[in-house]
């Protein structure tokens, strides 16, 4: 266990000792991985002491910036849970693990884990988020979609840390929504999860982004063909039905496992896509 004095100290240590040394943030995934013997790190670099440096939500030059160590409970205290445009964050929170983990897990860790159940990752994909990585060599910013390449695999060097998440503030007539369905309401992986960021003008879909827990890889991804089909069209149930019946199945591959069959997941993806779009629409129109 290495306890860094500050971020620079942590980066220098990681530079000398990674990949033998692994950064530990909230620990809600890593400690289970270690317990199950899937990861056997020689040294953990405890980032919990850097919270004062790396936990924040702020608006900077038209962007919203979230520090990597911000927990769901921290997010709940910010405008992201009140502004109707960002209520997708509240949706994620309500389905996120359980109260005893919402105080520990971090948004940077949620991305770093990079699994299909990374719900903040799914939502952030619809916000065209970028991630700022930092190492002793300096900082670089990469699109979230390029950073997360496969399940538990990031396009980042072991000596780099996720520093913050950046996405553009949403203009007028935009809103976000997120849905996850499983047997219970919380402590769930979700048979299917879906997030959307939608813009409507005079009943027309002027911008839409839809992300699922899985599209054709084992990580959250965008349903781009479906988005393209919907863009510029009237927001109507017929149009949405056409999108999920004719377009979505051409880009989505759903597999069966012990939780649910691929067939059921495909059907559920369609239904949840419709529901999440309706939810975002109602938010744009001033509803909940």
């Amino acid at each position: 266990m290495y306890i860094p004095k500050n971020l620079n100290d942590a980066l220098e240590y990681l530079d000398r000792h990674a990949p033998d040394a692994i950064p530990l943030a909230g620990g809600t995934d890593l400690l289970i991985q270690i317990r199950e013997g899937k990861i056997r790190p020689k040294v953990l670099v405890d980032l919990s002491g850097l919270k004062s440096e790396l936990a924040y939500v702020k608006k900077v030059n038209g962007n919203i910036v979230i520090g990597a160590l911000t927990t769901p409970n921290d997010l709940a205290k910010t405008f992201l849970h009140k502004d109707p445009k960002y209520l997708g964050f509240l949706d994620v929170y309500k389905r996120f693990a359980s109260p005893i983990l919402r105080s520990l897990a971090t948004i940077g860790g949620n991305i770093g884990v990079a699994v299909s159940a990374s719900d903040y990752l799914t939502l952030l994909l619809t916000l065209n988020a970028k991630v700022k990585l930092v190492s002793v060599e300096g900082e670089r910013t990469v699109p979230l979609e390029e950073l997360v390449v496969e399940k538990r695999t990031l396009a980042k060097d072991p000596n780099e840390l996720i520093r913050e998440i950046i996405f553009p503030e949403l203009p007028e007539n935009y809103s976000t929504a997120f849905m996850k369905l499983d047997r219970r309401e919380i402590i769930i992986t979700g048979y299917v999860t879906v997030a959307t960021c939608l813009q409507l003008k005079d009943g027309k879909i002027t911008d839409v982004r839809i992300a699922f827990d899985r599209v054709n890889k084992r990580i959250p991804g965008r349903a781009r063909k479906t988005e393209e089909f919907l863009k510029g069209k009237e927001f109507s149930l017929e149009v949405i039905r056409q999108a999920y019946n004719e377009v979505l199945p051409t880009e989505m591959v759903r597999k069966s496992d012990f939780r649910a069959s691929g067939e059921y997941r495909m059907d559920l993806s369609k239904v949840l896509m419709k529901r999440v779009l309706l939810k975002a629409k109602s938010r744009i129109e001033g509803g909940a």
């Binding site: 306890i3 809600t28 953990l44 359980s98 109260p99 005893i100 983990l101 105080s103």
Partner: protein
């Protein structure tokens, strides 16, 4: 395999400072139970799912099996032992007894801490808020409905200023 060296940390548990030597892989629950003797903290699943190890750390409800002891250095921790003065019952404990909520009781330490965390922030919670606050605490006996009753009753006691009760055994 070479053993890791000890790390000395200071924890404040139930208002008292303790300086202990811990291994880097020891969890908060291990130190609370086996080094400091706070055995109210129970281990259920050991992976943050069941809630029976919940304690309040710096005002936040956390799973003590998902925190390494080292990460809790310098933090203020409240366990069930610190809820009421010796020999007294806290309103939450009294309410749980009054509603006959206990069956096996293994989940109680976590449930009580979750209720305490809720009532500290929200002295008059709705049924929905109680359900949400207790949603991370599994009870295999299925006493959930009585937990809701008890939380309402405890809130009422506390609002009336009755925080501690005599324990009559």
């Amino acid at each position: 395999m070479e053993e890791y060296p000890d790390i000395e940390i200071t924890l404040n548990v139930n208002g008292k400072d303790y300086t202990v030597k811990v291994k880097p892989y020891e969890r908060l629950i291990d130190v609370l139970r086996y080094k400091l003797g706070f055995t109210s903290v129970k281990e259920g699943c050991g992976r943050g799912e069941c809630g029976t190890c919940a304690v309040i750390m710096d005002g936040e409800l956390v799973a003590s099996c998902m925190v390494l002891a080292v990460q809790a250095r310098g933090k203020k921790i409240l366990t069930l032992e610190g809820l009421a003065p010796p020999g007294k019952l806290h309103a939450i404990q009294k309410a749980l007894l009054d509603t006959f909520a206990m069956q096996c009781g293994f989940c109680f330490p976590g449930v009580i801490m979750a209720m305490k965390h809720l009532l500290d922030k929200n002295p008059n919670p709705t049924e929905e808020e109680i359900k949400e606050a207790l949603s991370g605490n599994l009870c295999r006996c299925g006493s959930y409905l009585r937990f809701i009753k008890a939380a309402k009753l405890a809130a009422e006691y506390i609002r009336k200023g009755q925080v501690y009760f005599e324990f009559k055994g």
